[in-house]
Symmetry: C2
Subunit: 387 residues, 2 copies
């Protein structure tokens, strides 16, 4: 009896020690997961760029859930379809073409009912659509599929596919994944709101610049074309997304100073005389005066003020030369001149595109910046801009 | 010997059981904290409104750290001072006036060195500044003080003050609080970026509307005044922040259609004849045509198109009457008419404000909406707008 009691105690000690170790290990692993979640949430929310948020969402799903693939499907409100907005790698490109109707497949089910799913054996689930797997030659074994919601409205679905290390997803995984999905939904929504506001800003600037331009009956669509040409040029120059955006805004606004030019000059059906031209030459400065009030657009001023400068110093209003002229102004100058040459004016017909290109080439280094002209020609030759 | 061994085993079992229980309890409490952190991070990031983010940051600090007060200090880059942006309750209002130089007090130290602090007895810390406590008659005992950083730049400081339940903050608390601070910094920065873009949008619209207005030499500052009057009116009408924003944009843009009116009419130094006036009456429709392209500003069209309608149906361009006229247009109509009356015109002098108010009152129910006129008069009487 005593011996058995002794054994029983030893056995109990062993079990307790094991339990303690196991509890500690579980607790540590849980804390590690939560720490990762907090870190991922910081990463997700520290950008307002849509593409970037979506990419990070997929990476976060893969990392947090320790699985083969994380994927993000977004809901297209117009067609009521889910589409893979971002997909990593070569296989991802193929998956991108797949669209699932709401209600179709596991993701479609989740989007329809707004409820998460944990599926330990996908092959046995009749809801599974093979579309994506077939496209990507990928085999989905088990998965977590969670709706992304903003104010109770489903905006997409987040998936974690094929748990690594021969494990299968469990309910604890699902709980953690739901927390990640909350963060993802919010980050996606914030990026959307920011993008919408950016578009509203650009569209409003375009609409007003367009209206201002319309006073001049000879330049229909000029601003829009200068914006397009400028954006084609920057494709072939080495600059980042923000610089490109700044050049776009500068191009949209480059001629708004014309609002200060009187009808009798702006709408004159014949060539301007010397005094009238002097008046007209004020528009870059008038443009600067208008936009100077906008604190966040300081960077846009140089494009407005200097787009009529020439490399040889014979331009206006300041007669700057060479590298004193900011790049943005050099870009708009080429785009502006090309459009002026290739559209009808009251006193002359439009030049052919080839002729205008030749003129740019000839003016390169004198009137125009050589690198910018090269970039323009490259973009013309590659078909980015066409007649 | 056997007895002592037996006792030893029992003792060990007891200790192990205790350890296990304690580990489980700790683990559960930790998981609860992390779950709260995830929840708070969702709450923090689910708004892009600056005031709201700041309020939520303080509430989050208080709740997550289970303490008496959470407070948020932001860095004023221009003066290099920390200020309490949001402070809850009556005491908070007093604290709001306190400013700490970077380097001054505990928060100032944290902002200067960019390092977090855990202080278990504030009274013994020589860095402690009594400014805030004295103002609020509050006693800070122990605290966590963590820098808020965006890309390694300190933008503020988050504090948790006086741990509840007779406990004192420990290092684990500090680790958790640092994670919260990361989320807070990002949420604050996103809200700032959104606000900046909003301001850029509004300022650009104002600058362009202002430039368009300047073509008419008789209305200097008209748009700005109509915006101010409209904003004074809405103060006394029951509407939410978003509606007010929409009315502001509408007021800024209400006259941009005048860009389509020729100089000889717009700049005519005498009263317009019938044909000219018919031409001038097109500006609300021209304005609509310009802004229709901006998808997100559909809501702004009614204010532009209908701001010359009259309650009795005798306005233009559509001759709408009564409740067919949208509220925003009724508001702009009153603001617009009041400014027209109280500024000089080529063919008549400005009326006195009292006279113009009388005219509004007389036109109430016929030309103008009664409620809007009432709101305008209330705002005039309370001094919101003044001559």
């Amino acid at each position: 009896m005593k011996v058995s009691l002794k054994n029983e105690n030893l056995f109990r000690i062993q079990r307790l020690e094991k339990d303690l170790e196991c509890t500690l290990r579980k607790s540590e692993s849980k804390i590690k997961q939560f720490t990762t979640l907090a870190e991922l949430s910081t990463i997700l929310n520290s950008t307002l760029d849509q593409e970037e948020v979506r990419k990070r969402a997929m990476e976060a799903a893969t990392r947090l859930m320790n699985c083969e693939v994380g994927s993000l499907l977004l809901l297209d409100d117009e067609t009521n379809e889910l589409y893979f907005e971002v997909a990593l790698g070569e296989k991802g490109e193929k998956v991108k073409e797949v669209r699932l109707k709401v209600g179709e497949g596991i993701a479609g089910w989740v989007a329809e009912y707004g409820e998460p799913l944990l599926i330990t054996d996908v092959s046995k689930d009749p809801r599974h659509s093979r579309k994506a797997d077939e496209r990507s030659e990928f085999k989905t074994r088990d998965m977590l599929c969670v709706p992304l919601k903003i104010k109770d409205k489903v905006i997409g679905v987040l998936e974690a596919i094929n748990k690594l290390e021969r494990e299968v997803f469990n309910n604890e995984d699902l709980e953690l994944f739901k927390m990640l999905a909350n963060q993802v939904a919010i980050a996606i929504d914030n990026a959307r709101l920011y993008k919408e506001l950016q578009e509203t800003f650009l569209q409003t600037a375009e609409a007003l610049a367009d209206a201002i331009e319309k006073r001049d009956p000879y330049t229909g669509g000029h601003t829009k074309r200068v914006v397009n040409y400028s954006m084609s040029i920057v494709k072939y120059l080495d600059m980042n997304h923000e610089e490109k955006e700044r050049i776009k805004i500068s191009a949209i606004l480059h001629d708004i100073g014309k609002i200060g030019i009187k009808d009798k000059i702006l709408r004159k059906p014949s060539e301007l005389d010397k005094d009238e031209f002097e008046e007209m030459k004020k528009h870059p400065i008038l443009g600067q005066e208008i936009m100077e009030k906008v604190t966040q657009l300081k960077d846009v001023i140089p494009g407005m003020r200097y787009h009529h400068e020439r490399l040889d110093g014979k331009g206006y209003p300041d007669g700057l030369s060479g590298n004193k002229i900011p790049l943005v102004a050099k870009i708009i100058a080429v785009a502006d001149a090309f459009d002026a040459m290739t559209t009808d004016r009251p006193y002359r017909r439009a030049l052919k595109w080839e002729t205008a290109i030749d003129n740019l080439r000839r003016g390169s280094g004198e009137q125009f910046d050589g690198e910018v002209v090269k970039a323009f020609i490259r973009s013309y030759q590659s078909g980015d801009i066409s007649d």
